[in-house]
Symmetry: D2
Subunit: 337 residues, 4 copies
């Protein structure tokens, strides 16, 4: 970290800042410019509180030099992490497609969807049993009954299951049924939940909050890793911007950036990211072209009666077409599907 | 809700949409324009899923007409809700100031802060025992020990206490010690938590998420009210924008908008909203001038050693000055302080 | 357009609104719901001022139904527009790559860049003679001398030239030298300039403003088309969001959306969009995979001495590699390069 | 500026960076941390191109230390600039209110508005003759005829006139009629226009772009000042965010920030900032409470027939009430009105 002093900061103020830094166990490197002095801090500053130092007299601002995350960083671990889910490797050459309905509605709906996505080539079944809904009056999911149906669909199709967990106390229950624990975008900074899934014995699919920076996503992953769970898959699912034609703005650059900054696998959710089924195919292609390790796709046998997110769900036929169209793109960038 | 059909939608498609709407228990009102037909839906549509209707053939988009919240709406309850906290009325003519340190650090720090804010005219003591921190390596709060210190400060100063609750399972514990349960910005759409505080016997201070719309804030409040707790205070604390000079952008207009749309009291947190102590005073004045019912202010006896958010904390002297400067502004808009 | 009346609007207010609409030459279609009445307007409302109608007593808000653009719309012209630039077709199966330095700095620099991009397979040479710079103290471009060098590079390499025009009075001068007139992102709503290029005899490359919605980009294009120039190429170049790791956030979805909404060709500028040369290649691939008709790439023989935007410029070797890697992606989505 | 080297940057890379900096005429101050080395640059770096330095081998990023603006900075000129407009001082204790219709529509409309705002206590008449409109099909203003009507209204009421200029070639014409040249939000980075008004003999009202940072606003002002015109008034008029209930989000903090960073006067436009007349009064109060030097308010004798922006225009009676309500707020913060 460096501390930028105000123009006209006095020698006493500078000396006080240096003394404070040394008191905190770090070394100081002072540089006096023509207009401003700069105090460099040498040592491990990840636990220092910047806000505290910014309150010292004569300080204009602080600038972090090191990245605040460590375990998730490629500096810390250069080689790619490959997360294995019942034998399916996420983060390897093979792209991994997780597909299924937004929410589990019934046995028939789920089994239809599961069989359809399996036959089209998907690797993992997705489906929500606990649903975060903006309105208390909307369908909130089937709860444990939904988890049971997911487990049944797994037995039937052999597809591993990913489903969302919304609160720390749900973790044991969901772990009983699911192969991957999903932390939703609205819970990306639910630190109690991150702590809980960090102690769980399941891979975690961590979705980027629609208000979260890339760095904050990596810090959320750091919570999970620092509590002992290294099997984290990151998911870009669109950020909130001023543009309202799409539900969110998929940040495709984030895929390439994340692949540089971290060793964790990165997947993209074009269904939530765009909110429109017509855009799922082009954005899926773009995600793969940009280097994503997989996709999360909403597929529903009958979107026009879906209890949630019908507008962004593909019908099985369309999903099959999409998978066919994706294969040459995957090959063009050295991946398989 | 209205359904806008695509240009060139066929009569069959329009008939199917109408049939579907009627099947869902609503009435239809069809309007044929020169370029597009519009299907109006008559009936209570708050539980209808728009995304589902958008997937019907020939539909371009849906447009909601009614607001999705009900219990929080001024249409539903025209007169202001006044939330009473141990005899202190929030939402009445008197402005209410909640002040104290970002986090509880020690008995001495908290008591110093509590006495200082009380003597300067604050009405409620704020302080965090459970702290949501971006980094797992930052100070996470004293937990229950912090709650005990808050209760002690209340005994000493007679100030009611507001503190954050971060997970549903913490609600019983925090309720034992605190007079107001704070739901933080990052948890505004933690629906499990909203459910839990909705069933608690304490007023709730609900902070707007930094990427949440005004409507989403009202829907979050609707969760709490619909679970039986009508004592909700809304808090504007800055939204995330492209501007980075301030930590967030305080949306002062939201104060005036919320006072129009809802009967619930509205307070502003200029400390988190700006991230800079020098801006706390002007933004406090602006908030009061715009019609806020109160303020949430960080005050720390020694911000330059604060374990969190020192840069935005006022020293006690400065807080006293701020309160003095606020009084004439309050009077100018017909309030007392 | 529909007009949503307030809850409790009186019969007189509704009648006044209907009368006003009819006075403006449109027909009225009234629909009375349980909680609100809706006044539908039938007729060509593109020239009606919504803000005016929103001021009538009892009106809550207006909702536009028709899109505000016409000439640029696919409803108006279903088949793709192909813009021909000295025999190079933009908007056809063949992808078109426009490459070159951010700014023209010298004869040697430009010729080196021009030869390099030509030999790597680029179709059009880009380079700025008039440069919009945030700081008045930054290099502002060579002006007419830069235009002369561009013309010389065209003679030498046979590549058509695209360059920015910053003010209406520069249009005649730039038209003398350039094959395509570029309107920069900061000028997307410089309506005087849009008017001027609308009357020019050159194709226009219109960059999306970093603050502009997709609809506003189409309205800017509508300005150009409505002044007689139908040869407009749209360019997505990143929007401004809260995420600061990349300079802007490239809105890849916008490519697919624009291809649905308009018949005009769409290209992407990953250099400005990301601000980092390492991201140019993955975002170029993503853009092509999502359906872009071409790319705008900054290439500089020596980025570390470039007078502008060195951080996002590719060296010639890297550009050559990028082109090689793009070809299979283009083929995978049915395009050639 | 400091240059942060990558982790593992070699000694040769560091030496090359230092050599390059010295070659550019600056001095180097090297600091070697545990994980990263930092190269401090000493000297006037305002004209250095950061992007160029970021392309040197081994460089991770650059961090600016000095602010990029100089003439507009309070460091450069500590005392407030007071801009005098025909004897009316902007930036002094007295608040200045500029009011009038969005666009000049007719002699009668303008004179009615001018008399009304004068009698309610406004100091300057605003009104648009050249109108930037999103749609080419909307009313574009009366042009020179509008300027003539403004001059007539000035003769009649003695109010100085502020009106927008949209292109460099309009500057001489507008200067003939107007007392203040307004640069609109969409033209804040129209550098040719900034250059032109920088050479004009009139005060400039510079509106913040809806996607412009505070720093970019100050850099735009720097363009005007650096071309010789020091009479610049800055105007906050709302920024574009994800929140859509208001047209823009008024950044009230920016008022207080600007008053710290620059000596130039700062006014606020709550009419464009909110897009809703009901919000003009509370936001005007908030702006004054936060330290604004004045306001820009849309007033129209008959908003429901206004050719532009009726929804945000006050009727004369309401404007009079607003002025009355503002006076005690002004006094509460030590200003007069």
């Amino acid at each position: 970290m460096i501390i930028v002093m105000k123009q006209g900061a006095t020698d006493t103020q500078i000396a006080n800042v240096c003394a404070r830094v040394e008191q905190l166990g770090c070394q100081v490197h002072l540089s006096e410019g023509q207009e401003r002095s700069i105090v460099g801090i040498i040592g491990d500053v990840r636990s220092l509180d910047r806000a505290q130092l910014e309150r010292l007299e004569g300080v204009e601002r602080t600038v972090p030099i090191l990245r605040p995350y460590k375990l998730t960083s490629r500096d810390f671990q250069p080689q790619d992490t490959v997360v294995s889910i019942n034998g399916i490797a996420v983060g390897d050459t093979q792209l991994v497609v997780m597909a299924g309905p937004c929410s589990v509605e019934s046995q028939e709906q789920l089994l239809d969807a599961a069989r359809a996505v399996k036959s089209a080539g998907a690797h993992i079944l997705r489906g929500g049993a606990f649903k975060p809904r903006t309105s208390p009056y909307s369908f909130q999911g089937l709860g444990e009954e939904g988890l049971r149906l997911l487990a049944e669909a797994r037995r039937e199709t052999d597809l591993p299951v990913v489903t969302e967990v919304m609160a720390p106390e749900q973790v044991p229950l969901v772990t009983t049924y699911a192969d991957v624990l999903q932390v939703g975008a609205r819970n990306m900074q639910n630190f109690a939940l991150l702590h809980a899934v960090g102690e769980a014995q399941r891979p975690v699919l961590l979705k980027r909050g629609m208000m979260a920076t890339i760095e904050e996503l990596l810090m959320a992953a750091e919570y999970v890793l620092s509590h002992g769970n290294e099997r984290v898959i990151l998911c870009e699912r669109g950020i909130r911007t001023f543009e309202k034609y799409t539900r969110n703005t998929v940040d495709i650059s984030a895929v390439a950036v994340l692949k540089q900054l971290t060793h964790l696998p990165v997947v993209v959710d074009p269904s939530h990211g765009t909110g429109k089924w017509e855009l799922v195919e082009p954005i899926s292609r773009a995600a793969v072209a940009a280097g994503a390790d997989g996709l999360l796709i909403e597929v529903h046998p009958s979107p026009e009666t879906a209890l949630c997110d019908g507008a962004q769900s593909l019908k099985p036929d369309r999903f099959r077409q999409m998978m066919a169209g994706l294969r040459p793109v995957a090959q063009a960038v050295g991946r398989t599907l």
